[in-house]
Symmetry: C2
Subunit: 436 residues, 2 copies
């Protein structure tokens, strides 16, 4: 008998999401020092330590949300259903201009992390301002996150100039370079808000520190037209010409790439953060995801911020994606349940270049594990566990969340942050938003 | 002080969904003899009786699911992600051929009703076989349902010929003519499975007993082509020519109507059951719902059966609808949160011609009420209750469900049927499905 820190026993189904999509039934996962040290049938008898039963549960890797703006949770639903220009100019931007501060970002991110944990998200990618506040929330909660300050050519809540933004980014990178939870990155906002010079400087910084280069690209037809007019090129070609496209780039949205641009994305190993619900709600359109996957492009899934979605439920997001692309392409075999769940796990890990540690349940990887409760009539009968997760469940069916071997959610209760305190804070900021 | 049976007090928001979308804050709903007898602020002081607090809750009318095949819950997820022909011919039809019986339908409907109640559905429209078994489930649970046997030109589990199906339908109508929970209807399956003669006979029956005429219409491009080939007309025009279109008709799907057909639907006051998730998952397409609503057509929302969706969550369904039509029409103002919630309540009631009793919270109407729990960070801050329900919540946020003044769900626990027993039955039937 060997000592373990935590043993998950008798798990009804384990979907490892490894390269072969290995599955186990009625099997165990053994955790030590924050890592998975054993997995499979009859493993529990070889170890002693704290145990949790996985009976009537499906184990999957912790879910990865590849694009969000966590703090915007405090603007959830604010000004919804308006034309985009009205929504931004009369609601979101004035509220942000008035309120975004270290405190706003900290409180908003706390609320977002609570919701993400509840829904089985163990890693998220964030672009916003005051990322030091986001890092603080991440460290307090024990979740993981790729964090980058949004760099724009006009003054932002965190920086008066793009150079100041880049400088703060560099300091932030140095601070968290070796961290196990905070993965610092460079975040040039978009081709239409960053000059070629800013985009290139940001790229050099990402190269220098070997970080992700996270950017919004080709989100709307407006952006495509704007870039064409200013630079005579579509957005992806514009970035290619600037020399800022490589395997380090995680491009959010990518709704309107041309065929040629899809090839450029594939050749340069650019990764995509697909945000279908945000793209629908903001009327940006439907990204050609099945075609991108066919070309071998890594596609993760993202919720985007709750101001434009308005939830942080990755299972809901892959459910929408799996159905949407079938209906849009008039083909019910497109983006099947296995592919959809891959987007939220191993492909998400590849999108943030952490597939050596995250994204699948394998010996040696970080013990980031989600147990989904299937002991409910709405998930029965169960013919196929992938199908059941993608088409019949949602974040509320997540029962247990483990990060680095530590319990963050148990019996559907979030164990970090105080719920009532979060609601009080949300109300405090709501009143501030509405104050004249 | 007047006597009441149940008083819901201090409800944070009441969305009545009446003609003016009247709203109340921190108000009460008073129930007697299964009806709402009073509603508004400070009403609780005028009555005595059992009380339930509505603090931190939003009250909305019981949700109406205008199209499903409840018993198919036992085939949830079976054969998903296959081409339509393979799914039907190798999975669904053989399983149905082998198993559909009174027992199968009773057990499947019990499971479906449990899930529907959990998600706040208080009325559903069902078309399947052995509707006497469905009626039994409905009566045992106290939910409401429009029930019709699917009538087809080929032998079905319930009837060897369409005439036998019509005869059984007539007996069923007579049995439940005056019932408060079971609303019998006539259910010719579709224009491509019913001859003109069958469609007309069914229409005469609906006229004779003043019932709904529930039919699948224009679900797929295949159907449109098939009807064109056989009758030289598109489906709606074909039905119009047969004289089987009036205010009694509830047409499910309606994905591919022509402009001319939309006008015919409007002129004849035909109602639509929109099933966006099923239409996406089966790759049928996207129905022109915003255009139909613009023309004044009554559009309710439906989940379709769980074999093709795969859940019975009406809040999830309106959330998908509200986002889908924005993205598909490239206009973020299309199908706003108020319109989406109307589809699930008052428009649903109009779709089944029960708007005198159901679909809004008004004095004199049936006390079919849903309380949604907003005391959770994922529903905070709350700027607008409609927005929060449609874009941020799902069925799992339903806390309390009341039908005819009787509690069916309380504190998120379903009070009818035994959960473990339902799961056992689902497993029993799963094994039967998989038996060679």
């Amino acid at each position: 008998m060997k000592k373990a820190d935590l043993i998950l026993t008798d798990i009804s189904y384990i979907l490892t999401m490894d390269e072969n999509l290995t599955e186990y039934k009625n099997a165990d996962i053994v955790i030590k020092d924050g890592k998975i040290i054993d997995i499979g049938e009859n493993k529990k008898n070889e170890y002693f330590g704290k145990t949790i039963t996985g009976k009537n549960k499906i184990a999957i890797p912790g879910l990865i949300n590849t694009h969000t703006h966590a703090a915007m949770t405090l603007l959830r639903g604010y000004g919804s259903d308006n034309p985009l220009k009205v929504w931004l100019e009369e609601y979101i931007w004035p509220a942000e201009g008035k309120l975004v501060s270290y405190e706003f970002v900290k409180d908003g991110t706390d609320t977002a992390i609570y919701e993400m944990l509840r829904n089985g998200i163990t890693t998220f990618v964030d672009m916003y301002f005051y990322e030091d506040a986001v890092a603080q929330s991440v460290k307090e909660s024990g979740i993981r996150a790729v964090l980058c300050t949004g760099i724009l050519d006009f003054p932002t809540p965190g920086a008066k100039t793009p150079d100041e933004g880049l400088q703060k980014t560099e300091e932030f990178i140095k601070q968290f370079e070796k961290d196990e939870n905070v993965f610092p990155a460079v975040g040039p906002h978009a081709p239409y808000t960053c000059s070629p010079q800013t985009l290139k400087k940001a790229f050099e910084l990402a190269e220098k520190y070997d970080t992700l280069y996270h950017i919004h690209v080709s989100e709307t037809q407006f952006e495509v037209n704007d870039i064409k007019e200013r630079y005579g090129n579509t957005p992806v070609k514009h970035l290619k010409q600037l020399g800022v496209l490589n395997e380090r780039v995680l491009a959010a949205h990518m709704v309107h790439p041309t065929e040629e641009e899809i090839d450029i994305i594939a050749e340069n190993k650019v990764k995509i953060a697909h945000c279908p619900e945000s793209n629908l709600k903001l009327a940006s359109g439907v990204a050609p995801i099945p075609k991108m996957i066919e070309k071998g492009i890594v596609v993760g899934i993202g919720t985007d911020g709750t101001a434009s979605n308005d939830d942080l439920d990755i299972i809901g997001e892959i459910s929408t994606a799996a159905k949407l692309h079938k209906g849009y392409n008039l083909d019910p075999t497109v983006l099947n349940a296995r592919q959809a769940l891959k987007m939220a796990t191993i492909e998400g890990a590849k999108a943030i270049r952490k597939e050596d540690k995250l994204g699948s349940l394998e010996t040696g990887k970080n013990a980031d594990i989600v147990l989904i409760d299937i002991n409910d009539p709405h998930l029965q009968p169960l013919f196929d566990p992938y199908t059941q997760i993608v088409y019949s469940s949602n974040g509320k069916d997540v029962d247990t969340v483990i990060i680095s071997g530590e319990l963050k959610v148990l019996n559907k209760k979030v164990l970090v942050f105080d719920k009532e305190h979060l609601i009080e804070k949300a109300n405090y900021w709501k009143n501030k938003v509405l104050e004249k």
